[in-house]
Symmetry: D2
Subunit: 337 residues, 4 copies
Amino acid sequence: MIVVLKPNPNKEQLESLLNWLQDKGIQIHTSIGMSQTILGLVGETSSLDTDLIAALDIVEDVKRVQEPYKNANRKFHPEDTVITVGNTQIGGGTLTLMAGPCSVETEAQIIEVAKDVKASGATMLRGGAFKPRTSPYSFQGLGADGIELLKLAKQETGLPIVTEIMDASQLPLFKDVDVIQVGARNMQNFNLLKVLGAQEKPVMIKRGMSSTYEEWLMSAEYVMSKGNENVILCERGIRSFETYTRNTLDLAAIPVLRKLTHLPIIIDPSHATGKSFLVAPLAMSAVAGGADGLLIEVHNDPEHALCDGPQSLRPEAFDKLAHKLLSLHAFLKTQEA
Amino acid sequence: MIVVLKPNPNKEQLESLLNWLQDKGIQIHTSIGMSQTILGLVGETSSLDTDLIAALDIVEDVKRVQEPYKNANRKFHPEDTVITVGNTQIGGGTLTLMAGPCSVETEAQIIEVAKDVKASGATMLRGGAFKPRTSPYSFQGLGADGIELLKLAKQETGLPIVTEIMDASQLPLFKDVDVIQVGARNMQNFNLLKVLGAQEKPVMIKRGMSSTYEEWLMSAEYVMSKGNENVILCERGIRSFETYTRNTLDLAAIPVLRKLTHLPIIIDPSHATGKSFLVAPLAMSAVAGGADGLLIEVHNDPEHALCDGPQSLRPEAFDKLAHKLLSLHAFLKTQEA
Amino acid sequence: MIVVLKPNPNKEQLESLLNWLQDKGIQIHTSIGMSQTILGLVGETSSLDTDLIAALDIVEDVKRVQEPYKNANRKFHPEDTVITVGNTQIGGGTLTLMAGPCSVETEAQIIEVAKDVKASGATMLRGGAFKPRTSPYSFQGLGADGIELLKLAKQETGLPIVTEIMDASQLPLFKDVDVIQVGARNMQNFNLLKVLGAQEKPVMIKRGMSSTYEEWLMSAEYVMSKGNENVILCERGIRSFETYTRNTLDLAAIPVLRKLTHLPIIIDPSHATGKSFLVAPLAMSAVAGGADGLLIEVHNDPEHALCDGPQSLRPEAFDKLAHKLLSLHAFLKTQEA
Amino acid sequence: MIVVLKPNPNKEQLESLLNWLQDKGIQIHTSIGMSQTILGLVGETSSLDTDLIAALDIVEDVKRVQEPYKNANRKFHPEDTVITVGNTQIGGGTLTLMAGPCSVETEAQIIEVAKDVKASGATMLRGGAFKPRTSPYSFQGLGADGIELLKLAKQETGLPIVTEIMDASQLPLFKDVDVIQVGARNMQNFNLLKVLGAQEKPVMIKRGMSSTYEEWLMSAEYVMSKGNENVILCERGIRSFETYTRNTLDLAAIPVLRKLTHLPIIIDPSHATGKSFLVAPLAMSAVAGGADGLLIEVHNDPEHALCDGPQSLRPEAFDKLAHKLLSLHAFLKTQEA
């Protein structure tokens, strides 16, 4: 950590800061310049509160050199995390295809979609039971009933299921869910993250609409610091000034996260763009860029979907896309060798 | 609502759309152009799901003309909402000054600050008991104990208190709190909003870091649609590309919200900027722009604050600022006459 | 175009608007609702100034339905534009690889890099002679001398050259340049665009840091409306809140532009990210997403580059990447068939 | 400047870096930690190219401690810059009111508006002759004729004039203009900035749509480094995700710039918001926040303005606003004493 002092710092205050740091076992290297003095702090600085130091009268600026996350940090955990879910794996060179409708609507719908996407090569079934909707007047999901329908589809097809939790109080309903999803709007619902860290199911954390990579990894750290190491990161687009697409899909997240963390990385091109014609090309981009998997909306009747229709693919379109994605993934494997 | 059709729409699908709309009591006005047909939908369109219509094959675009919120809408409620809290009022031409530390730390601290800010003219005491922190390793607030300390300070000074709730399960602890704050990260925690809508205490909703005015008003609508009309909106800066300030304070929110809604508008220059030297000028700007009040961080020892020190004012600085703000507010009143 | 009127519009003003529109040959379809009246305007609306109409007292909002660009619009020009430069083509299913240093520095440097990238499969040589630098104290490029050096490298290798123009007055120096690049900061330098529209060389327009797709296409339209149809669009990242990468590369631009326009689309992963380890994965993503080509920084000595070193690849790294990109492109061709 | 090295840096490369820095007269303070080594560079670091250093294999990160601008820096020039234009001053505690139409249209229009705004208290006349328009099909301004009309209005009223230059080639036409405006889209047109630095008229630089404070000050530095110290900074809103307003007016710019620079600061609420009902409250906010002046669009016939009508005020509305602004400014002066 680097502390830049204001010109001519008050000597007593400086002494008091230096003593406080030394008491915490921090080594201090001082660079005295003509117009500025810089302190280089070395040691266990991740426990230091930068805000606290920045608040001091004699301090001009504080800059962190080391990442503030540990469990999620590749530096301390060089091997990729691979998460086993049912008979499939997420991470470790596989291509996870999570597919299904935005919302679970009826038994017929979810079972039909599940069969379709399984036949096309999907490895997991997605479907929303609790739906975070901007308007209180929009369909809010089937809730507990939706989860029951997902379980029927799982029984029927063997596909593990991933679905979103919106509040810690819903956790008992997720007993048979395979991966618990935290939505973008809840990425910094720290109470929820702590609760999910204290249970064992894998947690997939979607990136908040305006969250930095570091904030996102800190949310993973919330879960991991409570003991649950099975965290998956899902990029679903960030909010920018561009309004043609619903969000701006940030595919640099793949190689950036690959460097910073050992956790698996899933890309959601459906929610990111909000337009079905953009799903296939961006899914291809994600695979070529090294993603561990995709989260894709598929609906057997997108024209009557109860939510988020415009970005859903029909099963036939998903079938075609899944084949292209799997071929591309296989091709890229041959190139690595 | 306006529906723009794709060129040469399938006739059956169009008929089916028109019938569906007419069944819902919507009047349809059709404009047939050479390259495009436009449907003007008139009636109770706020119940129509734009996503659903946009998903249709024959539809190119859907544009809403009316606001999707009703209870929060000034069109249907032209009078300003005035909220009475203890012996003070929020809205209606008053200037509410909510002041206090970011975090409640000790009894001595909160009582001293409460007395100080009251003496300077503050009308409410703020202080965090549950703190949303980006890092699981940062101080998370005193929790229930913090609320107890706030209650002591309220007893001592008579100042009503406002403090943040992070999870619906904490509600029983808020029995003696006067205004319940929903933080920016929870602005779209819809479960929490519904729970707060089903109780009676005023709710102050901070704007999400990347939330539009409309999304913010829809969050107010979540609370109001459950029966609680006492909602306050608090602008605390949005996330932009500029990193010199922690966030970008959007003061246009004051006149924009004044037009769109009847709810009171509070400005938080402390969190918005993250730098204490910016608090006073932006607070002055907020009052001159017509804000109903301010939320300002004051700490008797910002150098040892357990969180968010750099933007806190010392009591003396707050005292000076409060006098300037109250003078300015009084001056502006004389100008209106 | 759709015009939403305010409730109870003044009748005379409405009549005057309707007459004015009819004089311009616009057909008007009126939808009268209980709380709102909507005018659907049909005809040659691209010549109408939306700002002018929106300024009227009786108008609440104006929404455009048709795109405001014509020459760049795929609707009026369904075939892909293919641009021939020397013995290479841009667009039409080829993969253009523009490679070379950020800045031209010495004869030895540019000739060596040109030979290297040609051997690796590059189809064009890039190199900056006029450099837009944030600081007046940074190296500003070799200017005219830099263009002379590029010409030597072209003579030596046969590679066509692309380099940036910063001001219309520099045009005479570009006589032997093959593609003239307009930088992100000049995307809305309309005088420059008009001058480039009145000459014949292909123009590659980089997207402005905070420009929408529509604004970018309008800049292409500036060039095309003056008679030069040879425009190439280059996505180089937009500015978002994320600071880990220099910019946020928006790969959705590829399929979006493919739909909206017939112009070729090049991706620049080097400037977009500012970090060399991100160039290869994002270049792969771009090719899989359907880009017509890439603009990649290659430097034989990035450690001593006079500008923008951190994102440059060494020739060996580019060689490896070019092979992967060309293999991927060839593989994708086989899948289409 | 701080250089963070990668773990276990190559010794030869490190030596070579240290020698290079010492040759430039830089003092180096080394902090060796367990996992990271930090170099504190002290001396004339503003001439060091951070990109160059960041490109080195052994370097993980480079952080600047000192601002990269000198002429514009308050640290080296503590006194406020006051610019005299005709018989008015910009800066130094005055309130400059620049008012007039977006575009100059006719002699009658500009002279009438000039007389009106002068009567209301405006100290300068603004009006666009060269107009940067997104579309090549929109009105592009009267050009040289527009400047002639502005000169007539100046003769008639004595008001100094401010108008925008779009290209260095237009400079000869600006002989009788008092302040030359550089638009947001040209803020980083470095050739133009250099040309304006080499002449004597005051230059008002509007902030780029997505430019940081530092980039903006670097553009001022371009002008100042060529010898012209008379630079004015004009905040006109930045681009954010919010689309209700045209841009997001960043009023924190006032106190931030006040700290960083000695140059005068003008606020443009008209272009920032694009809506006339937002102009008055934001103008009041700007004055209360300490702005040196305002740039306000006034049109005697906004319904027939040839551009940017929706945000223009009518002369009567400007008259009312100007009185409020001047009263507020006078009131604030009394409070300072």
